[in-house]
Amino acid sequence: MTLLICGAGLLACSSVNTLTFENVQIPITKEYEQFNSIDSLISPYRSELNKEMLEIIAVAPKGFDKGKPNGALNNWSTDVIYNSQLDKMDNSIPSFCLLNWGGLRNSISKGDVTLGDIFKLMPFDNEIVIVELPMPSLGKIEEYLISRNGEPIAGAFLKQGKISFLNVPKESHSSFFVVTSDYLMNGGDNMNFFEDRISTTYAGELLRDVMIFAAEKQGTLIWNNEQRIIIE
């Protein structure tokens, strides 16, 4: 290596920059609570929210728990979503409703049901969609339900590995309509069979809003522990 020092502006080299860094990921804990100087900005919102979330909107006659392959919460959640879409299609009704066990985030305890309880059950702003699938895709859903040891369904049963619809004859159609959420339609929880979709209709309603409406309407929540999925 040869080092040369050049004279008088033959070449311009004005500076050399070096950059070094230090890092720490700082956990936010109680340690920082001592002054709490902006809590006054939050507290009016918190009070308003709590007031609303503590409002009693229904009564649960028993505890609603989610289960695999079946559970009272699975049935209640899918029933209210399915029923809300029964009159939404021209000349037809959706074949069944499919949600996911993982998406039901909280049980409903026996006794008073608050608005906050439904928010805890369904915190996501997922929207209801009606997805049209070709009849051959039904086999993929059957396989999926078996592999997952069941997921919440309404309007259908799974027995001996086959789905039967309660309200729509399978034989006369080349496609069927599933009520679900936009999250699952987009492949959430590996529901990849929705990629086969022929058409999608957005209901323009959130699952949670429909659940709230249904709870208020029922007054006493309808407890149903029907075994809709039977896996041999």
Partner: protein, 303 residues
């Protein structure tokens, strides 16, 4: 505990094919070396977590909380001259605060905390484009969204493709890249927003910020840290671009213990950092710029 790392670049000004050797300049430096420090604080995926998690929470008992984050930020601001506060998106959605108030409180609080810049995550579309604009009115900081084209949407004019912030003696360029909305965000929520290739855009933006004399170029990214598939992530972004020094990431809720060092298109080191979600942690990176100035006639040539 801080880890000091000698990293990124010995960025050397090269002209006329002549290379200056940084390890040797010390010997011929005429002016005194000058050191400038810049402290970066950052969050991602705060998801409307205004209050701390409850003490009986199964995973994060008593963690997080915006009021506490404010105290931490105030403490750092007292100790340091130059602080930059950044967020990498998904400010909205996750608690009833968003459902009820549409993101207004999140924006008010971020303004109060003194955020300098943020970018949009996929959940920031959850209130629809008009919902974002409505809440955004309460934010007094810019949103940088470089690869979303909002031309024919209500958001048009409410975000910008990059920004330059002078912090002390350091000129910092910040731009932002977001994840593809299709399949992630309902069509009706993003309307006619157009998603452009984040790699191409990042290269364009970073080159432009460098051209405008930025000493440091930061990319706020909501692409996600890493994927098994070939989907574009922060790691891919780092490898396929140049002129970016730091990527502040989000979307995948990744709790990194320390920033990842990745090599860019021309072999320079790029830092990637991400701090999980829900405001449980705040990332802090302190950059030190050492500028050794020497007279123009004292050029060193290494052969």
């Amino acid at each position: 505990m801080m880890n000091r790392r000698n990293f990124v670049r010995n960025s050397v000004i090269v002209s006329g094919g002549v290379l200056c050797a940084p390890s040797l300049v010390g010997q011929v430096t005429l002016a005194k070396p000058k050191t400038t420090k810049l402290t970066i604080l950052h969050t991602n995926d705060t998801h409307s977590n205004i209050d701390p998690f409850p003490e009986n929470h199964s995973k994060y008992p008593g963690k997080g909380g915006v009021a506490r984050r404010f105290e931490l930020i105030q403490k750092v601001r007292k100790e340091e001259d130059s602080v930059l506060l950044l967020d990498a998106g998904d400010i909205f959605q996750g608690t009833p605060y968003f459902n009820k108030f549409g993101g207004v409180l999140e924006m008010k609080l971020m303004s109060k905390l003194g955020y300098d810049v943020a970018t949009m995550g996929n959940h920031d579309f959850d209130g629809g484009l008009e919902g974002f604009v409505k809440a955004r009115q309460f934010a007094d900081f810019p949103f940088v969204c470089s690869n979303y084209d909002f031309k024919n949407t209500p958001i048009d004019g409410h975000t910008q493709s990059s920004t330059i912030i002078q912090k002390g003696e350091v000129k910092v360029g910040v731009f932002g890249v977001g994840v593809e909305m299709k399949g992630l965000v309902p069509d009706v929520k993003y309307g006619e927003s157009v998603y452009n290739n984040p790699i191409d855009i990042a290269n364009d933006r970073a080159a432009e910020l460098k051209r405008q004399g930025c000493d440091l170029v930061i990319c706020l990214s909501h692409l996600g840290y890493e994927y098994k598939s070939d989907k574009v992530s922060d790691k891919v972004l780092a490898q396929k671009t140049k002129n970016i020094h730091l990527i502040i990431g989000g979307h995948t809720h990744t709790f990194l213990e320390k920033p990842t060092e990745e090599k860019n298109l021309i072999g320079e080191t790029v830092l990637i950092n991400q701090v999980g979600w829900a405001g449980i942690n705040v990332g802090r990176i302190d950059f030190e710029f050492d500028q050794k100035i020497f007279a123009k006639r004292d050029v060193i040539i290494v052969e």
